[in-house]
Amino acid sequence: MKKLINKPEDFVRESLEGMAVAHSDLIKVNFNPAFVYRTDAPVQGKVAIISGGGSGHEPMHAGFVGRGMLDAACPGEVFTSPTPDQMLEAAKQVDGGAGILYIVKNYSGDVMNFEMATELARAEDIRVLNILIDDDVAVKDSLYTQGRRGVGTTVLAEKICGAAAEDGYDLLQIANLCRRVNLHGRSMGIALTSCTTPAKGTPIFELGDRDIELGIGIHGEPGRKRISFKSVNEITEILTRSLIEDTAYTRTVREWDEDKGEWADVELIDPPFVKGDRLLAFVNGMGGTPVSELYLVYRKLAQICQQQGLQIVRNLIGSYITSLEMQGCSITLLKLDDEMLRLWDAPVKTPTWRW
């Protein structure tokens, strides 16, 4: 294993230390428990948005902390969800009195840790809601699995909800918006290579010289199936068709019910894309893929969308939700409405984005 690290067990902390000195104008980093937060937090009267997850997906989430996006991010160990104390302390730090939204990717670890954090926060009278992102169409059903994983739509939801919070939306409005973004976003990815976590020191899975993993998760979880290597046009076609042809997806998720003061099971359905939809097309690199290659993916994606009568009105191309140095990509399509479009375009100032 050759990585730009010192000791594997210091990797996450030292990376955060680097971020802290690099971006002291935008963010602060708390250690023990670890979380990254806006220098100007708490912003009084504003809903605070907190996300988090395993490390190794940078720039997500810490790189998205700042005005117009996240108030705080809780980084776990590499590919391991963070712990409830991180989420609770982050909530205390950034609570501006208007409540907190936890944006949670649907992995058993993330879900359970954020649920515990929600319970802890509620016990301390901090108003918290949680919305799950589960957009990965590589996971077909929710009956026989943990349900769809949270991947690319997370990035878009954090931008859009962050802008809404800045705009003065209240907690319920933002939770509803976040749920809507999730319902209208679909993603799927492929891996050309595996990746090596510092702690393990060897590739977390083996992939033959002529194989690719279709439907890879962002933690290197094996995907839908292993297929033989193909041209970028063919790969893009497979991914895009999987997104476009995905039918309504139904599942039950747990959200906090404020009235009852307990968890409630909520049934949610993703409507499929239809001709005429306006889309945000997000081509994401897995960390080790050159941006030049992502443009080949986008090229083909744009052709297919045009043929299908889907109108790409915004795009995002780059490595934003990554798996360390993995080579590969994912595509996320998000159906935009006017409100989401306006919020997407709203100003943002974080270590990753400034516009």
């Binding site: 712990t83 359970m112 840790n113 515990m116 943990q146 393990k200 977390i204 998760g217 290197g220």
Partner: protein
């Protein structure tokens, strides 16, 4: 009677079992998950052990509570909340006790399992630690019903756990990361089930030897 000293001893033995099996557990997780289970557990239990001196003279409930809090704030992932909850519920079941009767032990094991079930919502056959913990508790309960002592009941529990662990191999996972593999999860032993088995095995070893 299980003594407070034995409980402390058990935690030490379990932690060192985890340390010794760190790579093994991680490799099991590499096959059907994300290759971190051993690393996660080792990080958490190392921290938990480091806390033990602060509760060395406390009751068993307090000891388990401290372990729980440390696990919750240091393992992360799926196993963090699950083991954290197991110890939290176990601690509540034996709150303030300095030693544990057979019945206390049953309640401890049952409470831990219930916590895991509630937190993780897994069912029997989903290929998770539940598949190991659940038959173990049942065997322990049955042994008590047959008037066996703690050690004998624990022997039954560990035997059941070992058998159940092997039975996770042909299962198709329906919870946790392994569930994404669908049929490809068949043929691999569940990592969380394996660590759960080690937990019970360590407990038995302490009861037998100390």
């Amino acid at each position: 009677m299980v003594t407070q000293a034995q409980i402390l001893q058990w935690l030490q033995v379990f932690a060192s079992e985890i340390e010794q099996n760190k790579t093994y557990l991680t490799e099991l997780d590499a096959a059907i998950g994300d290759a971190d289970h051993g690393i996660n557990m080792d990080r958490g239990f190392k921290k938990a052990i480091a806390q033990l001196p602060t509760v060395a003279d406390k009751d068993i409930g307090s000891i388990l509570k401290t372990v729980s809090m440390t696990l919750i704030s240091s393992i992360g992932g799926a196993s963090g909340p699950l083991y954290g909850t197991w110890f939290l519920r176990a601690s509540t079941a034996v709150a303030l006790k300095q030693e544990l009767t057979e019945q206390d032990m049953l309640e401890l094991l049952q409470a831990g399992l219930d916590g895991v079930l509630q937190r993780g919502k897994a069912q029997l056959g989903d290929k998770t630690m539940v598949d190991v913990l659940s038959p173990a508790v049942a065997a322990f309960r049955q042994a008590l019903g047959e008037n066996q002592g703690t050690v004998e009941a624990m022997q039954q529990a560990v035997a059941a756990a070992q058998k159940a662990l092997e039975e996770t191999i042909p299962m198709q996972a329906k919870k946790g990361r392994a569930s994404y593999l669908g049929e490809r999860s068949v043929g691999h032993q569940d990592p969380g089930g394996t660590s759960a088995y080690l937990m019970l095995k360590s407990l038995l070893a302490v009861l037998e030897n100390y």
